[in-house]
């Protein structure tokens, strides 16, 4: 837990969190908008 706290203090800066927020939003937009595509192995009947 201490290591996790250290990592948070080191990397959980406002600019890193903003970056994460933007990237998450873009991934959500891409997946919901359709860009993941349809992969093999989905199965039909």
């Amino acid at each position: 837990m201490k290591k996790l706290n250290d990592l948070w203090i080191r990397y959980g800066t406002p600019s890193n969190l903003k970056l994460l927020y933007v990237l998450l939003t873009l991934v959500a937009l891409a997946v919901a908008g359709g860009a993941p595509g349809t992969g093999s192995g989905g199965g039909g009947h």
Binding site: V22, A30, G33, A35, G42, G44
Partner: protein
């Protein structure tokens, strides 16, 4: 796969263009109402988790899927000042059109499914069945409205996982790639440069 490709290409292009400022550029994208995109994805989740089978048993998932486009379009409208979002919006509209004209799912032909599932045969893919863990329904090419906007494109080898996608998907991926270049998109904006320094 096409999403992963767009994100990787976008990040690489951003790193080449902006070098050590690439991540600051991405963090500086002024996205408004991001929760709209997240709600849009959450509403699609039940359909994306549904295994293959009769599409008639997916009434609720289908309704939520269609409804999700309202949130996506609202997000696009709120962020329409960004060039990348405009391209994404065009892709979403292309996908929504073909989905709306084909009973609420993205059509895919048995031939395309044979392409992305090597070793399978056409009879493995009965018409009218939901293709599992996707937004797709299996329809014949001649029975598909706006066929050109459906999942007709296939990502060829050497990509490890064969993937089918639509023109709309391609536009969404292109929009994400442009967005990852920062607030100015592909333009080298003086205001962006100064706002970050």
């Amino acid at each position: 796969m096409i999403l992963a490709l767009a994100v990787v290409l976008g990040l690489v292009a951003s790193l080449i263009r902006h070098r050590d400022r690439a991540f600051r550029q991405i963090a500086a994208i002024p996205l408004r109402s991001a929760w709209l995109a997240l709600v849009g994805l959450a509403l699609q989740w039940p359909l994306l988790q549904a295994p293959g089978g009769s599409s008639r048993q997916l009434g609720v998932q289908q309704m939520l899927f269609l409804l999700s486009h309202l949130w996506l379009l609202a997000f696009v409208w709120r962020n329409r000042q960004l060039a990348g979002v405009q391209i994404v919006g065009l892709g979403v509209i292309c996908n929504l059109l073909v989905i709306a004209f084909n009973g609420g799912f993205m059509p895919i032909t048995p031939e395309t499914l044979v392409h992305i599932n090597p070793g399978s045969a056409l009879e493995h893919w009965p018409i009218g069945i939901h293709y599992g863990y996707s937004k797709d329904i299996i329809l014949p090419g001649e029975g598909t409205n706006l066929w050109v906007l459906s999942d007709i494109l296939v990502l060829p080898p050497p990509f490890p996982r064969p993937t089918a996608f639509s023109v709309g998907d391609l536009l969404v991926a292109a929009g994400i790639l442009v967005l990852l270049q920062g607030p100015g998109g592909l333009r080298k904006s003086a205001t962006t440069e100064s706002s970050l320094s």
